[in-house]
């Protein structure tokens, strides 16, 4: 077991751990002791484990560097989950933590040799290397998959549960530091409802761990005030991932995704430590100032035993003093400023601490972890001196956390004076405060937060706008304060110097890429993959811009920045997906179908019975006796009003004015390109009431299509209601259908009283139904529409009534065969986005002589020119051969086979015992019944014959019995 007392301090004020309890988890198989409140990284640091993982490309040892969830150096595998940030993830009892990118072990990694060959792995390595010979690609792939990638995914991992929550708020405050908290309080005091999001377990920001500056004054407990304010809701451990138009934010807490609509947004996102580029700049033991302070103050852990502090501001001196107070020996403070620019800070150090003014670090030294640092003066070519120590604290400046401000379309520019990218022009309703906006001292952060809170309230009309003099005064206060960031991004050196820790990109790689011509910042990013790793540019983006500017001879402002895109922080796909909410539509008879052996199929959103075990037998039942199919999925629209026939005339190619009450007509709907959109039957129920059915899949779209024409000018005296789910529908089909139906009603069903293509209101087994006599299957058939609530009852009464007649339920597959035997088309199956009704063998429906209708102009042209391709039936010469739908029809030519058409539908017809189908053919060929052509099946050409009209009952006598 690892001893956690090695680096653990006495209790610290404000620490987050509960020392009363301890538990263990394992890291690489060894037990680690932790307290509740520890993160994986803090517990490992307490136990003196400084190497946590290995890097992506060169497999270099890496350890906790930022302790803030920004850098990629502490990514570990926890159980089945890869890429877990050890510094942010709470340690839990019995957690199984493993390092990443190691084999066989963290200490002895076989791939670390890649570092030795790194000169052969230049930038763009993959683009340049694994190209030829092509025969080697499978081998290359195996090698690359072994080397590349972060962590391991176990495909057997059971899916986790995820959800989403919508939030609405007047003001959203992102960041719970001093600026964010004071902004939230100021806005709430003006009456705004405020939601404050902070990624840490408690709000407080850098005040939770940073040692106060002398001019900060006493720190008010803003977090407690915010928690207590009724207008403020605090969301801890919540990371805001993105900001879109109209202040629409997304945020993640655990497995939950928040979608937030805010009236105004205040970004108080703070800043993170900026790395300095020097030799071995990521050796474990190199930590940022923020990491050193977090370990000390939040977890009571010494970040090292002998510290070398590298700084360019007074904050570094406060960190040195804090380390010293915690029993860490401060060996040296290396400040790049002249002593004259520093505040009164140096006296706080122990007597034997060495102080270097106008010096900086040149290299971290050590095998696997820091053993010391090379220190050299800034401007002299002096040989560096080595100073021993096990901790190098880098505190040379801050990068404002402005990713979300960029996403919010803020104009951000490089401020030469302060050596930082700072917001310049904010969009309406977006505000920035605190360290992200350039505030440095506590008093300024508080003032700017309060100002932003009042501005947000004013934007929402809740308060008067703050006077502009106040805004100007604050800007002056910010500009006059001490500089916190150095303009220096690197120092001279000769060894590995990483700009990007995620993908192991060195400054040399960037120089090479720029020399190769990738000299615009966006190209440089894509080619070198810099800023594309897990840190998403937080560590490297600012430094890359500086290096690019230097190598191209441009200013930082001219170089520009890469576009900031969501998400700001890595997010698992499960969080974005949320619950499995795919809607499924089931008919009222769904349970009956399943209980009676139906094989169900997906049809759009609907579940439909494909068959009840034996489609040919179901076909036979319909042809010889009687069958019943659930067609509740049909779209059903009711049109009311005297304008209905005029409207139907415009959107169908058919004529409707003279359709009598009680009659039914098949209709085809086209768009203005003359392409078939939908088909179905329309019944005239009364002078002013019409009932239209659409295809199952087209119901929603056709309703919206009709609404569009109604609401954009064709809406005189007609109203359309979508009653697709109000009514269920069944088709009772077969020569005995009348006899079955007659058992449920006293109405006269004889052919003279209720002929083909007529509609009647009938009471069936006591239920008021609308019944249409139509014939998709080619047999005497009744389409029965009844209220969905009565569907199950009517269905069972029909089956009861049909028992003596040999009734059988039939599914979609049998229906497809039945309709194909009649050569009835299915829109979308036999037609596509170029099919017009004249070419699709439905010229009889197109009434070109009526007044304006959708498709009239192009259809007139088709009628005049004649179709180029036609949809016709076919049979196969060879028995038993059924070509797949979609196969090509080809004509052999001297130059090779020429594609002249394609198969749209094909089945074996049990009734005719032969293969039948529909296909598109060139019009001259399609016009000759019996003409032969060839279908390409499995590389062979199989002979087929053109067939005109229905294959079964061509005169339609069986429909009219």
């Amino acid at each position: 077991m690892l001893n956690n007392a090695l680096y653990r301090l006495e209790p610290q004020a404000g620490e987050t751990i509960d020392r009363a309890q301890t538990f263990t988890f394992t890291f690489e198989g060894r037990a680690v002791i932790a307290h509740p409140g520890d993160t994986i990284a803090s517990a490992l640091a307490a136990a003196g484990v400084h190497v946590i993982s290995r890097s992506f490309k060169y497999h270099r040892p890496r350890g906790v560097m930022c302790m803030a969830g920004h850098c990629p150096n502490c990514l570990v595998q926890v159980g089945d989950e890869p890429n877990v940030r050890a510094c942010q993830t709470p340690a839990e009892p019995d957690m199984v933590v493993k390092p990443q990118n190691v084999w066989p072990s963290l200490k002895k990694d076989a791939m670390a040799f890649t570092g030795l060959f790194s000169r052969f792995m230049p930038v763009g390595f993959y683009y340049k290397t694994f190209i030829r010979p092509q025969a080697m690609w499978p081998l290359f792939e195996r090698i690359l998959r072994r080397i590349a990638g972060l962590g391991k995914v176990n495909p057997a991992t059971p899916p986790d549960r995820y959800d989403k929550q919508y939030l609405h708020t007047d003001v959203a405050v992102v960041g719970g530091g001093p600026a964010g908290l004071s902004a939230a309080l100021a806005a709430a005091e003006q009456g705004a409802t405020v939601s404050l999001f902070d990624e840490n377990p408690q709000p407080g920001g850098h005040w939770r761990y940073a040692l106060p500056a002398p001019d900060d004054g006493p720190l008010p407990d803003l977090a407690a005030q915010a928690e207590a304010h009724p207008g403020i809701t605090v969301y801890p451990e919540t990371t805001v991932l993105s900001c879109y138009e109209d202040n629409w934010l997304s945020a993640r807490r655990g497995n939950r995704l928040f979608k937030i609509r805010a009236g105004a947004v205040i970004f108080a996102t703070g800043a993170y430590d900026r790395p300095l580029i020097f030799d071995n700049d990521e050796l474990p033991g190199v930590r940022f100032g923020g990491a050193a302070q977090r370990l000390l103050r939040l977890y009571g852990v010494q970040p090292g035993k002998r510290a070398i502090v590298v700084t360019a501001n007074d904050g570094g001196w406060r960190i040195a003093a804090g380390l010293q107070a915690a029993g860490v020996s401060v060996v040296a403070v290396v400040d790049e400023r002249p002593e004259s620019e520093a505040g009164a800070v140096s006296h706080v150090l122990q007597a034997d601490a060495r102080v270097f003014w106008r010096h900086t670090i040149r290299a971290a030294r050590g095998a696997g972890a820091v053993e010391g640092a090379d220190i050299a003066p800034l401007d002299a070519q002096v040989r560096p001196q080595f100073i021993a120590g096990d901790l190098i604290v880098i505190n040379i400046g801050l990068t404002p956390a402005n990713g979300l401000l960029y996403q919010a379309q803020t104009k951000i520019s490089y401020n030469e004076d302060r050596a930082e990218f700072l917001p310049e022009t904010l969009p309406a309703g977006v505000f920035a405060a605190g360290r992200v906006a350039g505030s440095h001292a506590g008093a300024t952060e508080l003032a700017e937060g309060r100002l932003a809170g009042r501005q947000a309230a004013a934007f929402l009309g809740l308060a008067p706008a703050p006077p502009s003099a106040e805004i100007t005064a604050l800007a002056g206060q910010k500009a006059a304060g001490p500089k916190r960031s150095s303009a220096r991004v690197d120092v001279p050196g000769s060894q590995k110097r990483f700009v990007c820790f995620c993908e192991d990109v060195t400054d040399k790689d960037l120089e090479t890429a720029i020399a190769e011509g990738f000299d615009s910042i966006e190209l440089l990013k894509r080619y070198s993959t810099i800023s594309m790793g897990p840190c998403q540019g937080k560590m490297c983006a600012a430094n890359t811009i500086h290096l690019c500017a230097r190598h191209t001879g441009q200013s930082v402002a001219q170089t520009g920045t890469t576009t900031a895109r969501p998400p700001l922080a890595p997010v698992s796909l499960g969080v974005l997906a949320g619950q499995n909410m795919e809607p499924v539509k089931r008919t009222a008879l769904d349970a009956w179908h399943r209980a009676n052996g139906a094989g169900m199929m997906v049809a759009g959103l609907w579940m439909r019975p494909e068959h009840y075990g034996n489609p040919p037998a179901e076909v036979q039942a319909v042809r010889e006796r009687v069958g019943l199919i659930d067609v509740s999925t049909l779209g059903k629209l009711q049109l009311t009003g005297p304008g209905a026939p005029d409207f139907l005339d415009r959107i169908y190619v058919n004529k409707w004015q003279k359709l009598g009450v009680g009659r039914v007509r098949y209709g085809v709907m086209c768009n203005d390109e003359g392409v078939v959109m939908n088909d179905g039957v329309t019944a005239r129920l009364s002078e002013t009431t019409w009932y239209t059915t659409t295809t199952s899949s087209g119901a929603g779209a056709i309703f919206e299509w009709m609404q569009w024409w109604l609401q954009s000018g064709w809406g005189g005296e007609v109203h359309v209601t979508n009653i697709s789910e109000v009514n269920a529908a069944f088709n009772l089909a077969g020569p005995r259908a009348r006899a079955v139906l007659q058992k449920l009603t006293d109405a006269d069903l004889l052919n003279e009283a209720f002929p083909y293509m007529h509609v009647r209101h009938l009471t069936l087994a006591g239920v008021a139904c609308m019944v249409m006599r139509i014939g998709f299957t080619g047999e005497l058939s009744y389409e029965i529409h009844c209220p969905t609530g009565a569907a199950h009852y009517v269905w069972e009464r029909l089956l009861d009534a049909g028992r003596d007649f040999g009734i059988a339920p039939f599914g979609v597959e049998a229906q497809r065969i039945l309709r194909l035997e009649k050569a009835h088309i299915i829109v979308g199956q036999d037609t596509d986005a170029l099919s017009d009704p004249i070419s699709a063998d439905m010229a009889w429906a197109v009434k070109l002589d009526k007044a304006d209708f959708l498709g009239q102009r192009p259809l007139r042209q088709v009628a005049q020119d004649g179709p180029a391709q036609r949809l016709v039936g076919f049979t196969m010469a060879r028995p038993g051969l059924v070509p797949d739908e979609g196969l090509q029809i080809v004509r052999p030519t001297a130059a090779g086979p020429e594609i002249i058409g394609w198969v749209t539908s094909s089945r074996h017809s049990p009734t005719l015992n032969q293969t039948i189908g529909l296909c598109w053919l060139p019009a001259p060929l399609a016009g000759q019944p019996g003409a032969t052509f060839t279908i390409r099946m499995n590389g062979k050409l199989e002979e087929a014959r053109v067939h005109h009209g229905p294959f079964y009952d061509p005169q339609g006598d069986r429909l009219r019995i």
Partner: protein, 96 residues
């Protein structure tokens, strides 16, 4: 995600709506126009950079088709209104 102001229901997430394309009026007499004008109506979109007049449908709401004037670069919606004079819930007509 932008907020879209349905003339009938007020501001809603754009997710509730279906985009209906550019406002592209159909020639009043299709048989009377020449091929160029007909082709223009059917196939040629302006694809404007700037304020575009376009159709939206409140699919998950009141089922109103309405017009919006939206800047295609900033995505800012300047105004929304009905094609025909119809009263909304407050009895106000919502035409331009």
């Amino acid at each position: 995600m932008i907020l879209l102001n349905c003339p009938n229901c007020g501001p809603r997430n754009v997710q509730e709506f279906r985009f209906g394309g550019e406002h592209n009026p159909r020639p009043a007499a299709p048989l009377a126009v020449d091929n160029a004008e007909w082709t223009d109506y059917l196939f040629l979109k302006a694809n404007k950079l700037g304020v575009q007049k376009e159709w939206w449908y409140h699919r998950a709401g009141c089922r109103l088709w309405f017009l919006a004037e939206r800047h295609t670069q900033s995505n800012q919606v300047l105004k929304t209104y009905c094609w025909t004079a119809r009263p909304n819930r407050e009895g106000e007509t919502c035409v331009e």
